[in-house]
Symmetry: C2
Subunit: 348 residues, 2 copies
């Protein structure tokens, strides 16, 4: 007998990290008397004179942004990582540390302060992808930059301190923990089958359709079977590409369409600008082969019940194991049924 995943608490296995998530499908009925987040639905202007990311404005270090017309990138004025940091070790018994060098950049998606990815045209999202490609390649080719983490924190709830549409890139000498886990599991499968584990998974998901949100000849978007965050979504290419540097023009267009579709559904879910952290996991740039790597973009959005009630990853989740209340299938169904037109653009 196979377990009924809609009925019983269970654990699901993440084939990419090798870790389990606890799923409690019966727990959605729990009343919520805890924290209510603020909703921020006021309309932003296209240009904000006090925004340090708008074209022509001066940043806190005195530098003036160019009058950029599509995307714009610069080195973070408050970088967590700095170039030319010595890689010396600190070792003293059980105390171990090591110097870490890197480069942190800010990536503006658009000159228009009022936009977000779902409100941008597909062609404009393509330009963002082009910029990510260029940055992945140029940062990755720097000696001592062995991994390039592209990400976006969207919304105050996700620690974003400026609503101008932007993301970040932190590149560094070490390969981060999350990436190491995924390297290991992908390589194990590659060794055994000479196939991409994520590629094989995508084939199964496309057949099942249950968790699918988008599909064309190049890209797939879905709620992964092992999703941790309530409405977690993954976007991945069908072709076995190690990194975004290998995307062709057609694939870039599909990727942009998938991003627009997913983020539009997100906004439509609670009719709010949906907060999330988004990140791209791809092959390290340490000069090794990494043929097992299959790049993918993931969205980790915290909202659970409404625009004001999020899922807290706290005590049990921090000390023991990630845990979720709605199943991946319930989340996918809800997202599937939402319109593809952004609620701010739909005319009735």
């Amino acid at each position: 007998m196979s377990l009924d995943l809609n009925e019983y608490p269970h654990r699901r296995y993440n084939i990419l990290t090798g870790e389990w998530v606890l799923v409690s499908p019966h727990r959605t009925k729990r009343p919520w008397q805890g924290k209510q987040e603020e909703v921020q639905n006021e309309k932003k202007p296209s240009y904000d004179p006090s925004c340090y990311l708008c074209p022509g404005n001066t940043r806190s270090n005195g530098q003036v942004n160019p009058n950029y017309t599509s995307t714009f990138t610069f080195i973070n004025d408050f970088s967590a990582l700095l170039a030319d940091t010595p890689s010396d070790k600190f070792e003293d018994g059980l105390f171990r540390a090591k110097g870490e060098s890197g480069i942190c950049k800010v990536v503006c998606f658009s000159p228009d302060h009022s936009l977000t990815l779902p409100l941008m045209e597909v062609a404009a999202i393509e330009e963002v992808i082009q910029l990510w490609r260029n940055e992945y390649k140029s940062l990755g080719s720097i000696d001592g930059i062995n991994y390039v983490q592209i990400f976006e924190n969207k919304g105050e709830l996700m620690g974003c301190s400026n609503p101008h549409p932007h993301g970040q890139i932190w590149s560094q000498s070490s390969i981060p923990e999350e990436v190491l886990k995924k390297s290991k599991k992908q390589e194990e499968y590659w060794q055994e089958y000479q196939r991409s584990i994520l590629g094989d998974y995508l084939i199964q998901e496309v057949q099942k359709k249950e968790r699918l949100l988008f599909e064309d000849s190049n890209f797939v978007a879905l709620v992964p079977f092992w999703a941790v965050w309530p409405y977690e979504v993954m976007i991945a290419p069908k072709r076995h590409l190690q990194h975004i540097g290998q995307l062709n023009a057609n694939e870039i267009k599909s990727f942009a369409k998938a991003i627009k579709k997913v983020t539009t559904k997100f906004d439509n879910l609670f009719e709010t600008s949906f907060p999330y952290s988004m990140g791209i996991h791809q092959a390290p740039t340490d000069g090794r082969e990494h043929e097992a790597w299959h790049f993918h973009m993931s969205f980790y959005p915290p909202l659970l019940r409404s625009a004001t009630v999020k899922k807290f990853m706290v005590g049990y989740e921090l000390f023991a194991n990630p845990q979720r209340d709605i199943t991946a299938e319930q989340a996918a169904k809800t997202l599937q049924e939402l319109p593809d037109t952004h609620y701010l653009n739909s005319i009735d």
Copy 2:
């Protein structure tokens, strides 16, 4: 030359999990324009007729709480884990899941609605420890309960939906991910040296004093060298105890004193009821030996700069690696210099 940890960005190694944390000591000067949390400093009544944890009140399932006078525990009315869940597998190609059974309990620390651990007497905290001991032993002896996670989410910021002083215990059939990591690293060291890795680390910390917050003949409290959260603190016994069931009466008293001291300093830091998630990591209850395990309690508090500005564990932290801005030594120094008397009880 050994790296200067106050000067350069670096990574530190967590000897218990085998993972690294990124430390950016130069980044404290970053201005903050992002989210400001609400402060909640209004005084609570000792009894709240609408609180479902206060003595004599009725819970949402109709059960009436006894008129308890010290601690009180019951099965969570909205448990994420349920007893008697079938442990059947679900296997379908790359899709893997498994039924998970468990018992979730709520633990009231005191009948007095207005208290928190730092505001309780040491003797009252000892009673909480006694209850944790009993629960660890009785839950752990149930067939199919192989791990007992004791934790507390304190404050709305940490997803706590009721201010009555309470914590939770989630016990289950599988051993959670975080615990597995710590089992592995402790066992490796035990195999090599027949000694406790945490015990050896505590000896070094007691000599150095730099990160020490509390020490008596039985217990130590400190900011671990590899701390992730801004003011993360660990409390651990000097004796190599696998679990809290092995504590003697003297040790229980020391443990209670350490908890009171640490949580009082927390409240004094920003003169607010300091939010955190706290958890106890200890030996699994799966019937195996676990002689390498050295139990410890950890506090993960999110506040960074003030009562209203927290550290966000978002894009980079979720996708790549935990990252912190102040060093463990800076955090320890700040906490060391704070008074041991709670700010609400100090008379001037």
